[in-house]
């Protein structure tokens, strides 16, 4: 299969459980890869891989929570699904707050497990699409000249051309020209659309 076909990465130090979960997931039609420790997974996963992580919470060396943090900081985060022998509430709250897809006990009903994996994969697709779009937007914003950025900031504050010209110490015609140019670069028609786009791209004047 191709590099990008979604894979469920199973991480568990208990080999016997790891193998059994992998079997169930494979039989249910998922592509699965197994790892015996979080560090192995981080070191060996293919770049740009898609899918989700199903991991044990308590493992010698790097724990599930630590893996979650490491994954979040990487340039290719994947949704993470925790399986644990015994659900302990403080840990699960912490995991969920940090964006875990789900937190299940190891003996949770099969349907719940499969549904959670399904959800995680779907979210990865969604997250991936969003990440792609944000990336694309960012590249559009990155084409703006410094002057255009200044003008954009002022436009987003709702200032009129006249005020902008005064603030920046240039004439009103120049302001109009910059506005036309940046609208063209960002591929938008209205100022309302501009605001929405700036939020999506995470653009800020600071």
């Amino acid at each position: 299969m191709s590099e990008t076909s979604p894979t469920v990465f199973v991480v568990d130090d208990d080999v016997s459980f790891q193998v059994s979960v992998a079997r169930l997931l494979r039989a249910s039609g998922f592509q699965v890869r197994t790892f015996s420790s979080a560090t192995d997974f981080l070191a060996q996963r293919p770049p740009g891989s898609r899918g989700c992580v199903v991991t044990d919470l308590q493992m010698p060396g790097m724990t599930g929570i630590e893996l979650q943090a490491a994954l979040a900081e990487s340039d290719n985060p994947l949704p993470i699904l925790f399986l644990t022998g015994h659900g302990d509430i403080p840990t699960s709250v912490k995991a969920m707050r940090h964006g875990a897809e789900d937190f299940l006990t190891k003996r949770a009903p099969k349907e719940e497990l499969l549904a959670a994996v399904q959800r995680a994969l779907a979210r990865d697709v969604q997250d991936q699409a969003e990440r792609t779009r944000r990336h694309e937007l960012r590249s559009r914003f990155s084409r703006l000249t410094p002057r255009e950025r200044e003008v954009l900031t002022h436009v987003l504050r709702g200032q009129l051309n006249k005020q902008i010209a005064a603030d920046l110490g240039i004439n009103e015609r120049s302001v109009k020209r910059h506005r036309t140019s940046l609208m063209a670069k960002l591929q938008i028609q209205s100022v309302a659309e501009l605001g929405q786009l700036a939020v999506q791209a995470g653009f800020s004047d600071r």
Partner: protein
């Protein structure tokens, strides 16, 4: 009626009376032989004095001569019995002297009984009457003295020497009074008697022979001694009786049975305490097999073996066995004996005491049971602390089984089903089931109430089992457990469950000590090493804060705890367990922080008693 007619019959009567008294004593059995010989002596003296009286009263020479013969016979026999008395009473003296004296006297008596020659006179010419003081008359013989008379006197001299010799030996042996009173009297009065007779014979003294009275004096001396002996033996028997009473009182008070075993005759002398225990009648003869009958059937063979072994090779021994009393109750007995041997080393007598130790054994068993119960409670409590981790340990394989079964269901729906995969799944399910079962078995072993049972056990196995039990807990606390042990560790003598408990206690203590310390990798180390030929030492080292110096001595006390949730029994129980294994447990602080708990155990084949 003269004084002669009075004195001689009195002497006869006295002899008869004393003789009868001692005959009675002799027959009754108290120092019988001496008393019987003495009685014979007394009767012979009576005979002598009677015969002499008759001789004095003789009217003509023929009568006189006949009575003289009888008189000499009585005198000779009397000296022989006197000698035999000394012989038997003193038990000393040169035998050949005595035998020679008796032989000479025998010969003289033979001569006396011959018609001719007579013992005293070779030729007897007649008698004449002499008047002595008080107007009494008595006959005196006339004739030519016989040479046989010399033999008579030689014999008396030999006997005198024998008595003197026996008395001196007796004196040297410390029996002084007897030597002086009996020996001295005999020697002195024999000599005095001889002197008086000689003076009468040469006509210096005009009296009859007074030998009768000399003999009465000697008889008196002997009677004095014999009576003293009797009184002494009566006193001794009373003292003996008192001593026995006191011993009886003491032994009964402490329920101690005293016995003595004559091995050659296989006969036991036993105190009433034992007789009662055996259910033996007052006169019933008790031998070894009768004793064995009272021993519990299961203990008979080992008890007999222990006794036989002691007879063959030990001077002192101790045996413990169960005994069935006459009432059918089982009692625990402890017997201690001392073997007496002949010169060739063969045992011929054993003396000993036996005690009923049932109550002590019961108390011991009770305290032992309480100890075991306490250890059990502590184990259960430790397992409680481990419950979450152990649940995890069991949950893990159960989860794997569930997922495998679910996967198998899906594989079966495929067409064609993947049999290869299905077989692998079934194998894995079995493996995981065993894994969960093993955890449960280990838990159950530790939760079981069990008394100490010493067998050779492998410390490596024990460590493995404990490690598996705490694995989950270690993971949960982010602690690694390092086990260092030599490959050639010999088995130790111990109880598997209780040793696991000790290790579990120490490991849990170490984990608790490290709780809340800086994150980072923490390690608990268990080191096993052979400290000498007979001992293995186990050390559990943590990286906690160590033990405050002032608490080092207190931590093994019961109910001492620094933890909020602990019972404070873990270390106290560990100490009891290790000490009942014959080992030692102690704690020390590391130079760079952390505490180490060490304990020792005896190697199985080195400790001797298993």
């Amino acid at each position: 009626m003269t004084w002669i007619d009075f004195c001689w019959p009195v002497a006869t009567g006295a002899g008869l009376a004393i003789g009868l008294v001692h005959l009675w004593i002799g027959v009754r059995g108290a120092s019988g032989r001496a008393n019987l010989l003495f009685a014979l002596n007394a009767f012979l003296i009576a005979t002598y004095s009677y015969t002499e009286l008759r001789m004095i009263q003789a009217g003509n020479p023929a009568e006189y001569l006949a009575r003289l013969r009888w008189l000499d016979l009585a005198a000779g026999t009397l000296t022989i019995t006197l000698l035999l008395f000394v012989w038997s009473y003193f038990g000393t003296g040169r035998k050949w002297l005595g035998i020679l004296g008796i032989a000479c006297m025998g010969l003289s008596m033979t001569a006396d009984l011959m018609p001719v020659p007579q013992l005293v006179f070779r030729e007897f010419t007649g008698i004449h009457f002499v008047t002595t003081f008080g107007g009494a008359t008595y006959p005196v013989a006339e004739g030519v003295p016989s040479p046989w008379n010399a033999l008579f006197y030689l014999s008396v001299l030999l006997q005198l020497l024998f008595v003197a010799d026996a008395s001196i030996t007796s004196w040297r042996r410390g029996d002084r009074q007897r030597a002086v009173v009996v020996g001295g009297t005999i020697v002195i009065f024999y000599l005095l008697g001889g002197l008086q007779a000689a003076l009468v014979d040469i006509g210096v003294l005009k009296t009859p022979y007074l030998v009768t009275f000399i003999w009465l004096i000697i008889l008196g001396a002997m009677a004095w001694e014999l009576t003293r002996d009797l009184l002494r033996s009566a006193e001794i028997s009373r003292e003996l009786h008192d001593a026995q009473e006191r011993m009886q009182l003491a032994t009964t008070a402490v329920d101690l049975g005293v016995w003595e075993w004559d091995i050659d005759r296989d006969k036991f002398w036993i105190t009433d305490t034992i007789r009662k225990r055996l259910g033996a009648g007052p006169a019933e003869r008790v031998n070894f097999s009768r004793f064995l009958q009272s021993v519990h059937p299961d203990d008979r063979e080992p008890t007999e073996r222990a006794v036989r072994h002691a007879l063959a090779a030990q001077d002192e021994f101790e045996v413990e066995y169960r005994s069935i009393t006459a009432e059918g109750m089982t009692r625990a007995m402890a017997t201690r004996g001392r073997v007496e041997r002949r010169g060739n080393g063969q045992a011929h007598r054993v003396r000993g005491v036996s005690t009923d130790v049932t109550e002590r054994k019961k108390a011991e068993a009770e305290s032992y049971r309480q100890q075991a119960d306490l250890a059990h409670v502590s184990r259960v409590s430790t397992m409680g602390q481990l419950a979450a981790a152990l649940a995890h340990e069991i949950n893990q394989p159960l989860a794997a089984i569930l997922r495998n079964a679910e996967a198998a269901e899906l594989f079966l729906q495929q067409d064609p089903p993947d049999y290869e995969e299905l077989r692998a799944i079934l194998a894995d399910i079995c493996k995981d089931d065993q894994r969960a079962g093993a955890v449960i078995d280990r838990m159950r072993l530790l939760l079981k109430r069990q008394y100490l049972e010493f067998t050779p056990v492998s410390l490596t196995d024990i460590l493995d089992q404990v490690t598996m039990l705490v694995r989950g807990e270690l993971q949960g606390r982010h602690v690694t457990l390092a086990v260092e042990q030599p490959g050639d560790l010999p088995p130790v003598r111990g109880d598997r469950v209780h040793l696991q408990q000790v290790l579990l206690n120490l490991i849990m203590n170490g984990l608790d000590a490290m709780e809340g310390r800086s994150a980072g990798a923490q390690q608990l180390t268990v080191q096993v090493r052979r400290s000498d030929e007979e001992t293995v030492e186990v050390a559990v080292t943590d990286q906690g804060p160590g033990i405050p110096i002032d608490k080092l001595d207190l931590i093994f006390e019961a109910f001492f705890t620094t933890k909020s949730k602990g019972l404070g029994m873990g270390l106290a129980i560990s100490k009891t367990i290790i000490e009942s294994h014959g080992g030692r447990i102690w704690a020390e602080n590391g130079a760079e922080g952390g505490a180490t708990f060490r304990f020792t155990l005896k190697i199985a084949d080195a400790g001797g008693a298993a």
